[in-house]
Symmetry: C2
Subunit: 375 residues, 2 copies
């Protein structure tokens, strides 16, 4: 069941039912503009990752700021976007299983659909599904550039897979998928730079192998919010897949920039709004947001603009707030608190609605159409 | 958007699209029967906690095994159950906010609705909302019996709140809410026993204070899957709120019983089914279940009946499987793997459907109606 919206347009933020996912629209729009400015002149395309936002509405706003298409991780996310009018979608992931492949191929009738592969069997299955549907799929070969997760581990394996795609009936080679997930949250700029220098080296070696095989490579796609400045100026990446930049989160806030200061290019636009629901003891209070309402995989949320209050522990439906001695007066029952999620992506995936807020008022409600789209 | 079901009745389990929430129906039904047998003759009622299962279907099956009603944590969960025909619901939580209170009071026209309070202002607000709706609400006073979360912290405070309920226009005093969440996962039986002995002492002191105030207490409700044996034989608890017993999870599997053996009263009935989607390196594989698909707040999932394979790390949509040296042969692309969730409640909350399986075939699909019901 889709949950009913926790707010209505025009309502004050403090009237919103909680927990609710709040989007500061000014900050969100500023982030879209900042990314467009930052990439200008770098000769790279922006293909934001919808695993973060899961919303055709946001995809269209990103397109208005220059995005060439969207990334997703799951076929269900691709469906939600394609059915919402997004015309160019790359599944940055391997897709395994006959039913999923049939769904993916069906989508290729209404949108340009790319997908990744790191194994010959996947390519054969994709070719079969596309042929069966009478559709064409664009296939990217995923190479492991340092994360140790998916992706082939040698240039020759990549070249073999590209050759197999070229020899297929219904597939087009799209390029290399070269995302270094493990680099995004390395804290020091120098660590992130070293990781991406290494990734770029692997990409170059792979491009060399393709060239030697007479296999043109149309694109190199990858990068996230933590490192996109590096890939986008590397000379080998042609497309940037950052997702979190539109929202940001507490964990990205723990990264440092090249001057050793906390990263500050993008603004925090995403919040979970909670309500103080129990105040039975001094120095603490209970908020109605637990780990069902905010992702804790990358640490606990922060309390926004109240540095003297800590979110000290999460159970399923409750959060324990603790006050430092400097706090003047206890939190009041019913008081609203904005939390900065530790990790934006899994937090968004718990909600059905964005509550867009401007100047303290609810301006818009956007459904999170791909919420829970895991298959 | 409700996600489409990942399976159809009659399908083999290995044909189910993944990630999927699998319910072993034999084990699930055995757990319901085991709880009924265990509580027989103890003069306590069973009111299972629907924060675990979020499904009217399961609530009705529990009623058929003797449950007197259901617990929930959120008004949205109460709505999902009441609209699904559950006639007796206790919100084991404080509810704060005018819109929520109006929704709760509205439900009291179609079901018997209980709710907790630990502050006079909550009682006044509940009374106002019930009067406004022309309904009666049953209010339980929550006492802190050791968790340090919600609940009043002295018998006198409890007595004052009970008096306030008795003096209200539209509220009925239901009893004491006395749940010790912190005791459920204490590993050793002796630790759990000591915690519940302490909780029972606090309950008794509170009952004494009510008696001195001439305030009859109709019920003492609480207990979870980790400790219900203790509360149900305590002589003071009249109602048991266990939830996880119908599913179990890896974290409950780390509790030891009074003989020092891992607890084994209930069977593992809940699984997340995943598919091996990438196999590019020796000794490891990638499965399509990350922390968006399985709760990691209480530890990583276990691989079911494959002790030589470990789920070693979760990212949003991927799980890294590692093989111990004893493993014969690599996992195959497309192979299905059952995971035992670290924590059942938040895992269920990520899915729209239970896939009920018996003898390797899909028997039934049940919607998780209260998935995401957070307000």
């Amino acid at each position: 069941m889709l949950q009913h919206p926790p707010a209505e347009p025009g309502m004050r933020e403090d009237e919103v039912e909680t927990p609710a996912l709040i989007l500061n629209l000014d900050a969100f729009e500023a982030n879209l503009a900042t990314m467009a400015r930052r990439l200008k002149g770098r000769n790279v395309a922006l293909r934001p990752h919808a695993k973060t936002h899961k919303s055709p509405v946001i995809a269209h706003l990103q397109k208005a700021h220059g995005a060439v298409g969207q990334c997703v991780q799951k076929v269900g996310e691709a469906e939600a976007l394609a059915w919402g009018g997004v015309s160019n979608i790359l599944v940055t992931n391997e897709v395994v299983g006959a039913r999923k492949l049939a769904r993916l191929a069906a989508l290729a009738h209404v949108a340009t659909i790319g997908v990744c592969a790191d194994h010959a069997d996947q390519i054969d299955a994709l070719d079969g599904a596309a042929a069966e549907a009478g559709a064409r799929l664009t296939v990217y070969v995923e190479i492991d550039v340092g994360s140790g997760r998916c992706g082939v581990t040698s240039p020759q394996e990549a070249a073999d897979l590209v050759k197999r795609i070229a020899d297929s009936r219904s597939l087009t080679f799209g390029g290399l998928q070269a995302y270094h997930g493990g680099a995004q949250h390395l804290r020091r700029f120098e660590e992130r730079k070293a990781a991406i220098v290494s990734a770029v080296g692997i990409v170059r070696a792979t491009l060399d192998a393709l060239e030697q095989g007479g296999l043109p490579c149309p694109a190199v796609t990858g990068a996230g919010t933590g490192t996109f400045d590096l890939e986008s100026t590397s000379g080998v990446y042609t497309e940037i897949q950052a997702g979190s930049y539109c929202f940001m989160d507490a964990d990205y806030g723990r990264n440092f920039d090249e001057n050793g200061a906390p990263v500050s290019l993008f603004r925090q636009s995403l919040f979970v709004l909670g309500t103080v629901m129990s105040v039975t003891r001094a120095g603490s209070a209970v908020i109605d947001v637990g780990h069902k309402g905010v992702g804790v995989d990358s640490g606990l949320p922060l309390v926004w603009e109240k540095p003297d209050i800590a979110y000290a522990g999460a159970s399923d439906e409750h959060g324990n707030l603790k006050f430092t001695p400097s706090h003047n007066g206890a939190l009041k029952l019913g008081e609203k608190i904005r939390l900065v999620p530790g990790h934006c992506d899994p937090t968004v995936d718990r909600y059905d609605w964005y509550v867009g807020v401007r100047n303290g008022r609810v301006e818009s409600l956007w459904p999170i159409t791909a919420r829970g789209a895991m298959t």
